[in-house]
Structure formats: C-alpha cells, structure tokens
C-alpha cells in the first residue's frame, strides 16, 4: 500500500530566499508525524505546503498515493487545526463544525448525524449554540478539533495547536490528542516547537533547522542516536551534555580525556572498537551521569566531581558542574547526598553515549 503522505524533493522559495530545501518525508497510515524545530525553521511553511495553502517551488507531494502538488486545498482530503483555532467568529459552534459540509452541499440529515457524533466524542454538546467569543481557550481548541474530525479526512494537519493554552491545559490536551490518535488510527502531521510534545505524541519525528531536515526517526532513535549536535542539543530536557574531549588509542580501547579546571582530567574508557579522531565532542544525557552509590549497572566508570549547583526537582535532583569548559548536568537520585561546593562520586554510563565531530557536528558512532 502506498504511503498516506509522501513529500519528494520539495523546495520552497520566497523570492530568492530558500525556505525549504530538498524535503523528503513519507508516512504510513496511522502514523503521527511531528515536525519540530526552533521558530523560523520552516516547519509551519512545510505544513502549509502539505495543506496546499502555500504553492511549492519544486518537488512533488502525494496524499493517499495521488499526486496533489497542484490540487487546491479543499480537494486534498485533509483537515487542519490552526494555532489561533481560526473559528468563524460570527457562527455558532455547531455552524462552525458544519460549515465545511454545508459548503460541500452535504444533506442536512448527514450533517446533523456527524455533528452529533463529533460533539459527543469531544464532549462539546453543551456549547453547540454558543459563539466562539463565549468559549474558553480549551473549549475553542476542542471545537477546532471537532471541525477537523467531522471531515474524516485521510490526513490531519495540526499547526502548533496547543501553544496558546496554559501549561496545565496543554498537558491535558496533549494526552487527549494522543488518545484521539490511538482511538481513530488516523494519520496526522503535527507542527510544534516544543520537543516534549514531539517526544510524547509522535510515532515519527522530523527535526528541522533552517529549512533543512536534520533527522527523521522514531522518538527513541532521535533521543538516543541524534544525528548531529543540533538534534542532540534540541531534543531532551534538560539538554544532552555536549563536552569537548580528546581521545587516545590504548590498544583495543580508546581513552577519552575530559579536561577540568583545577583538577585532573576525567579519563573514560570506550571499550567498543570505534575509530575516533583526536578531538571529539562527547554527548551524554543527564540520566547517564548518576550517583555512584545509586548506579544501576556495573558497566559504569566513576569519577569525583565538584558540584556547582544542586537543583532539586522532586523526582530527581539535577546537579550542575564544569567539565571540559561546559556546564554539565547530571540527573541524581532524589535522595542524593550531593551539595553545592562539595565533591561527589559520579558514575558515567557510556552505553548510550554519542560522539560528534567538532568541525561538522555530525555523529561519529
């Protein structure tokens, strides 16, 4: 079966500015694709191109196996939820949801049935006769989703739908969208700048920067094996520690030396046979630097480190120190004995470590 969405060599220019460069993505039915990146990376433009709201400069776009490159938005069999919800201000909630069907000349009985179905599903029946101005942010969000759901399209598009909500509601709606995706088995493309949203929702993530795709993969792949320094730094909170280091061959092993101020360098041993250049950047997630006393595996290497700052976060305690001239965060046990200004024995787990080439920023292992 052909993929539900396929973007081939897509280019988008505004005048002489290249906004999107050689974009290639495809998703299967039921996939939840998240486009993530900092503002201005072109993710929203890409979504608008998929929707047909922006003409593309080069390349092809297939939805459900059909070439939709030059097809108008209304014939692409898509539905879209916008950041500002874009509810029609003079229409009631019911009219907002049925507007599309009315425009397409669908008979009243079908309209009513679908409206009832969707409003029950989203629990917005009591709101049907209100105008958007009389709704709260969360309610508007639901109505906007209702308007998309009622179309029952091949592909749902979401343009940062949660960014106007407060923090608590955002988490609630996130869970709800995920539940909705699982219940409907629908195919979705979702744009966000929030990497946690990306990790929690996606079955597939596209990380973008400057109009170029940096990496495509499952959340686990993106998290554990970032393709370059940008992805490593962007995905994960707190961010991955990226520490400059020097390597030395020692027989079959490689010695990794991390310089420290006012102390001997930390020397870690990489036992896997990797061919590393002399200067590298080593990427370690905070959760791979833990209290030696609480280390989960025996396969760790320990060192005493001077802790600068301790940040208790409830479930964990984050400790910040200086390694290789960088702030490095370690994720310690909630009941750690670490205190600011004291030395703490830490365990480094190199099982999931990433190595990057400093000049190119590309992954080495």
């Amino acid at each position: 079966m052909s993929p539900i969405l396929e973007v081939k060599n897509l280019y988008k220019n505004y005048g002489s500015t290249e906004v999107l460069k050689d974009i290639n993505v495809s998703i299967e039915k039921g996939d939840f694709l998240v486009l993530v990146g900092p503002s201005g990376c072109g993710k929203s433009t890409l979504l608008n191109c998929i929707a047909g709201l922006e003409p593309i400069t080069g390349g092809d776009l297939f939805i459900g196996g059909q070439n939709m490159t030059n097809v108008s938005p209304k014939d692409r069999d898509i539905a879209m939820v916008f950041q500002s919800y874009a509810l029609y201000p003079t229409m009631t909630v019911a009219k907002n949801i049925t507007f599309g069907m009315k425009v397409r000349g669908i008979d009243q009985a079908t309209q009513d049935a679908k409206l009832k179905h969707v409003s029950t599903q989203l629990q917005i029946e009591p709101l049907l006769h209100r105008k958007p101005g009389q709704l709260s942010g969360g309610q508007r969000q639901r109505v906007a989703m209702g308007r998309a759901l009622v179309r029952d399209p091949k592909l749902f598009l979401f343009d940062e739908p949660l960014s106007n909500l407060d923090a608590k509601l955002r988490v609630e709606m996130r869970t709800e969208i995920k539940a909705l995706h699982q219940r409907l088995g629908a195919s979705m493309v979702y744009v966000t700048h929030d990497q946690i949203e990306a990790m929690t929702l996606a079955t597939k993530i596209v990380v973008m920067k400057g109009g170029v795709i940096q990496q495509i993969g499952t959340p686990a792949e993106i998290y554990n094996r970032p393709a370059n320094l940008f992805v490593a730094d962007f995905m994960g909170s707190p961010a991955m520690n990226l520490i400059p280091a020097k390597t030395k061959k020692n027989g079959k092993d490689t010695q990794i030396e991390i310089a420290r101020k006012n102390a001997d360098p930390i020397v870690l041993t990489e036992k896997r046979s990797t061919d590393l250049p002399e200067n590298i950047i080593i990427g370690v997630r905070p959760e791979d630097i833990v209290d030696a006393a609480f280390a989960r595996t025996d396969d760790t290497q320990q060192a005493d480190c001077m802790i600068d700052i301790v940040e208790p976060a409830g479930a964990d305690t984050f400790a910040v120190m200086q390694l290789g001239g960088k702030h490095v965060t370690a994720r310690l046990h909630a009941e750690t004995t670490a205190a600011a200004g004291t030395s703490q024995r830490l365990a480094f787990d190199l099982g999931k470590v990433s190595y990057f080439k400093p000049e190119t920023g590309l992954r080495l292992n």
Binding site: M80, S84, P89, F99, G100, V103
Partner: protein, 297 residues
C-alpha cells in the same frame, strides 16, 4: 512598623471637585450653544414670514409660526427659469447618492478583502495607487473626467454622476475595508479554504457578517461626500439632472428683487436633512467602526 495607609497628597475636597465639574459643564454648554446658533437661526428664520424677518430681530423666536416658506422651498421656489422648488433635485440627489453609495461600498469591500487577505503580486502597489487617488483634488480630474464621460456617452446624465462618485469614492472605501480586514487573522481564510469555501463564499459567509461597523462607516462617509458634493454636480449635470446642492445654489443666487431668506433657509435645511438623518440613525456605529481594531473570535 511600616505605614500601610499611604494616601496620595493631591486629593481634592468634594467641593473643589463639584466646582470643577460645574465649570466644565458650563464650558461645554457654551460651546454647544455656539455651534447650534446657526442652526437655530436657520430654523427660526425658515418659520417666519418675510414681513417678520424684515421688521424683527435675527435671533428672536417667530411671533407667528408659518410653514409657507417650507412649502415654497419644496415645491415652488424658482431655480432660474423653472419654479418647481427643490423637490425634483432632491429626487435627483437620491437617485445619484443611493446607487453610488451602494456600489462604491460593495466594490470597496471586495477590494479591501482582496488587498488584505489575498496578497497577490503587486498588491501593495495597487493599494498605494488607490490611496493616492484619495488625495487628488476634485478640480484636477474635472477635464479628463468630462472627456471620459463624453466617450462613454453618459455626460450630463444621472448614471454619469453615479459613475463619477463611484470612481472617486473607491479609494476611500477600499482604504476603510482594507484596514478593517487586515486585522482579521489570515488563518480564518485558510481554514475556510480547507473547508472547501471559495473566494466569494469566504467573503460572503465569513467576512460580510463581521463587517457591519465598517459598512456603516463607509456608507456614512460616502453618503455625506456624495450628497454634499457640489463641484461634480455642477460640472457634470445638465438641466433636469442637477443634484439638490446645485439647486440650492440656484435658488439662493438666481432670485431677483426681494431676498426670500425664509425660503433659502428652508431649502438649505431640506438639502441637509438626509445627511443629518444618516448620522442620527447610524452615528453610534461610526465611531465604533472607525476605532474597531481586532475582531477576535
């Protein structure tokens, strides 16, 4: 201990406040009186007989109220050689103003919708040129317009005057609607496009229902402009198609012998009534529409 009961020292006593209020209202009343004075003189004069005007005081109330002057002004005052009052010209003005206001408002709304929401190549230049049209003095376009009207074969006719006023009004109406629609998020148009609505459907179902305040602004502005216009009216009309402003001028200027001030005043008030009416009926929307910025859903 900290002092929690800090109060600003510049509080005024209730009496001072009252006095200031009083002074303010007196001033406002004086200004109002000043502006209402001409209207008062017009109305009282129009209700007096000629004898009373000659013998009495300008600002005194009529001793004997008579509507003769109004009747004369409406149906038998002389504008040159014809003596039919302002009635036929009043009708001409209605026949010119109503279609011209409607057409220029509708086209202005469409223009504004396109310029604000369907950014096409050169949209900004197009808009700038239209705006430029607002600043061209009437006199400059008289000759070219006369030639165009002649070529179109509508010179001296009411459709010709409608045409002139529509063309001249488009710059303003487009400006009104463009500035109003530009504050409507473009996502609304996008959402409607995905819902399957086309250009006119989006305009009609989504933008029109939002537009009442700005329609009122456009109608008031255009109606006032067109109704009060004298230059185009006198330049592009002929006997039988003159608007009421031209007729009023003729009544006042073409009388020989005794000046019938009461008839002149009555005719002037009749000529001004429709604009007054439009302001009274739709005025509260006028300010609201001019200041209305965002249309948040």
């Amino acid at each position: 201990m900290t002092d929690m009961s800090y109060a600003p020292t510049r509080t005024q006593s209730p009496t001072t406040k009252l006095v200031l209020r009083f002074v303010l209202y007196i001033l406002l009343a004086l200004f109002a009186l000043f502006y209402l004075m001409p209207l008062f003189v017009m109305i009282t004069t129009s209700l007096k007989s000629l004898d009373e005007i000659r013998t009495g005081d300008l600002v005194s109330l009529p001793r004997e109220v008579t509507f003769d002057a109004w009747r004369t002004a409406w149906s038998s005052a002389c504008t040159g050689i014809q003596c039919e009052g302002v009635r036929p010209y009043f009708l001409n003005s209605l026949l010119i103003a109503i279609p011209a206001v409607l057409i220029s408002t509708i086209i202005g709304a469409l223009n504004g919708y396109v310029v604000a929401q369907w950014k096409f190549k050169g949209a900004n230049i197009f808009f700038a040129l239209l705006l430029f049209g607002c600043f061209i003095p009437f006199q400059v376009v008289l000759l070219p317009m006369a030639i165009v009207l002649g070529k179109l074969g509508i010179s001296g006719t009411i459709p010709g005057l409608i045409f002139v006023h529509v063309i001249y009004g488009l710059g303003f109406t487009t400006l009104f609607f463009r500035n109003y629609y530009v504050s409507i998020p473009s996502e609304l148009t996008k959402a409607a496009m995905i819902d399957g609505a086309g250009f006119f459907r989006i305009f009609w179902s989504i933008f029109m229902p939002l537009s009442l305040p700005i329609i009122v602004v456009s109608v008031i502005w255009q109606f006032t402009q067109i109704w009060n216009d004298f230059l185009f009216g006198v330049s592009f009309s002929q006997a039988g198609t003159q608007p009421v402003t031209v007729a009023l001028n003729n009544i006042v200027n073409s009388t020989t012998g005794v000046k019938e001030y009461n008839v002149d005043m009555a005719a002037a008030i009749i000529a001004a009534l429709p604009t007054l009416l439009v302001y009274v009926v739709a005025g509260k929307y006028f300010i609201r529409g001019l200041t209305a910025g965002s249309v948040k859903g």
